[in-house]
Symmetry: C2
Subunit: 413 residues, 2 copies
């Protein structure tokens, strides 16, 4: 494969995570030090920044300040939830993207996101090939949802899991402090896949976590749920419950559906308010003290509780995308291939074709959920435990985190 010289664009898309900036840092630092890459551009708000010709001049950022991206949550370049049309139906956006690529002599495109973003990346990749424009396109995975197909796990998942498990351990201590009992329901993100909610089971494995865990991989039955809660409360005098926002009845209706009819930019129903709703129901039926807690945005932005393993792997992922592209690969996403055995945990990069990862959701295997559908098995714990190892301790200023402050200078062609 001959050397391809030109600029690169790095963009972020979809919901942010605690470590998506670390993936971008891995890509940026590798690109800045790479002779084939003549210029490093950031897309302001993902593909929208490309379409709107809003590119950031990363070469003008201070290298030391960039390093703080390792401790800075959310998407430093800005994100979007813009869905590209099917190019066979409407190729307006794709032509515009090609125009911008040509304008800045962009020969490398790195897109950092989840399912929908890998779809965007895949479509752009295929369009560039079809157009005969020589450009190497690589996805860089991120999603707290952990639902990307083909990879052992996704950057961002472990840090969210560590926060969820830590918070559940702390809530467990708090929610059973009184002589009078309480049922506490914690609502965790995850529309269709229960990976995040399952992570609450890591707290249970430490002896201080939810008594009951409900994932969207199994159908929810309200009567069984109430009976489960009643049984645990009768035995222990307290009950801590973790539910995924996406739990649904057998007919597919979300349990939370009555609460809101808003949708996000991709047409997904915006869920929420489920914990409060279930807590109210428990209170009225069982007559016990209740509390509903929604972890909300905190679970995806709590960089102060990030997993060192996750941070290191996220960096490796961004770095691998750039290195492989420069070495001639295109149309891939660096995934993780992991081993967990008597020698411990090991994680290696494995390139996955974009078309394979785009739009395919990976769910928690049924056998990692207990028979009753109200907890996780040891197999899940063995899978997730190594991912949350280590703390990612960043610099502090006045007792608070010191986040990266980028100049974000608009690039000129």
């Amino acid at each position: 494969m001959s050397e391809l010289k030109g600029a690169c664009i790095i963009g972020q898309s979809g919901g942010p995570t605690s470590v998506i900036n670390t993936s971008v840092l891995g890509a940026i630092e590798t690109a800045l030090d790479c002779p084939s890459i003549t210029r490093v551009l950031g897309a302001a708000h993902g593909i929208r920044g490309v379409l709107d010709d809003q590119l950031l001049d990363i070469d003008k950022e201070d290298r030391e300040e960039l390093k703080l991206l390792r401790y800075t949550p959310s998407s430093a370049l800005g994100s979007c939830r813009y869905k590209l049309a099917d190019p066979d139906v409407d190729d307006t956006d794709y032509k515009r993207i090609l125009e911008i690529f040509k304008k800045y002599d962009v020969r490398y495109f790195f897109y950092n996101g989840g399912n929908d973003s890998m779809d965007t990346c895949n479509k752009i990749s295929k369009f560039m090939m079809k157009s005969g424009y020589d450009c190497r396109v690589m996805g860089i995975p991120k999603t707290i949802d952990n639902d990307l197909f083909g990879t052992d796990h996704c950057p961002g998942y472990a840090s969210a899991s560590k926060y969820i498990a830590t918070s559940c351990m702390e809530i467990y201590q708090d929610a059973r402090v009184y002589d009078t009992g309480m049922v506490c329901v914690v609502e965790i993100m995850g529309r269709h896949a229960g990976w995040l909610t399952a992570a609450a089971g890591l707290a249970t494995a430490q002896g201080a976590g939810p008594d009951l865990i409900y994932l969207p991989e199994t159908d929810f039955d309200m009567d069984k749920f109430m009976a489960d809660v009643k049984k645990v409360y009768a035995e222990k005098g307290n009950c801590l419950v973790a539910v995924s926002e996406g739990i649904h009845y057998a007919d597919g209706t979300f349990v939370s559906e009555a609460k809101t009819s808003a949708t996000d930019g991709f047409g997904h129903a915006q869920l929420g308010g489920l914990a409060a709703m279930l807590a109210d129901k428990i209170k009225s039926e069982l007559g016990v003290k209740v509390r509903g807690i929604e972890l909300s945005l905190l679970q995806r932005c709590a960089a102060h509780c990030a997993s060192k393993t996750d941070v290191d792997e996220s960096y490796m992922s961004g770095k691998a995308a750039v290195e492989n592209a420069v070495a001639g690969k295109t149309d891939y996403m660096p995934g993780f291939k992991c081993t967990r055995d008597e020698n411990g945990y090991k994680c290696e990069i494995e390139l996955l074709p974009l078309s394979q990862v785009a739009n395919t959701e990976k769910k928690v295997p049924r056998e990692w959920i207990n028979a009753e559908g109200n907890g996780v098995t040891q197999a899940f714990i063995d899978y997730a435990m190594p991912l949350i190892a280590g703390d990612n301790v960043g610099p502090k200023e006045n007792g608070l985190p010191r986040f990266a402050k980028l100049k974000k200078i608009k690039a000129e062609a």
Copy 2:
């Protein structure tokens, strides 16, 4: 003052904090090493444990395990929200307490809690004096609410503040990530005093915090609030708002009041759901994307984000209670007297009479709130900033906190 020999009881009461166990550890370790104290007993669930003769044999706990209380949130001995009657009206409980004190030869009583608990402590102290039973009674302050009178601040406040400010900084990063704007409302604890919500201003002082902050110390005006939000959103394209759960209209009605009519054991209205309610209102009136986040229990139990300063001071507070009691003092609570000047921050113990601290709420001074009533001033920042300094890093096990596991052996007389 002659030496007083006998057992001590240490109890915890009211809502727990991240560091209330550190205060108890300070008291326990000092008591265990003190020749005048013949036996260290823990009250299971505060004064209820005394009334029910449910005392724990702290002498039988492992000293190394006890040390983990420094990293363990919530009240390890158990808490209660039991209000003692006015002894002039009904002295049944007091007579029972005296009976238990005599049964175990209790000569020292340490009660760790907030306003209501200091009231309990004060009443017991006065009853013992009146009864001529020689027993030294000391309160040990704790409350994330920071509303105890006479002390510069309260153990527990700083750690909750550090969590609130850190989380607000993280939410700030996350809630402005998209090209489309958002208004995010964060609901923070504090019924009558706005100390905790004010702490969100520490994030703002770091350049990444709420644009608007509303405390219960000023009357809330919904029209002014909507105008404030609209103005910030128009200027910045995003708006982060922090509100105290206790914000109220000029007539005293809680803004959240319509949401719930439940009350806790002390007859206080149980608040909540305010963030979602305000977010909904903003959405319907301004037509913008919104999110309501309630920090809920997390803010008082997030030991993983505790302030080292708070932890050290909490320990000092428990230690001071025991040392002063053994030295002959009774009927006091060790408060903090602090200086903040060119030599930095200094905190010393100052004994405060129990009758003075009981049931008097300290509020945020009006001059620490800006003229518009939607933010805090530099004077507040100068006050709070030193309190959140330092991280309290505890041992981990499988990537998660290792909390103290006490044996909790029931004491026999």
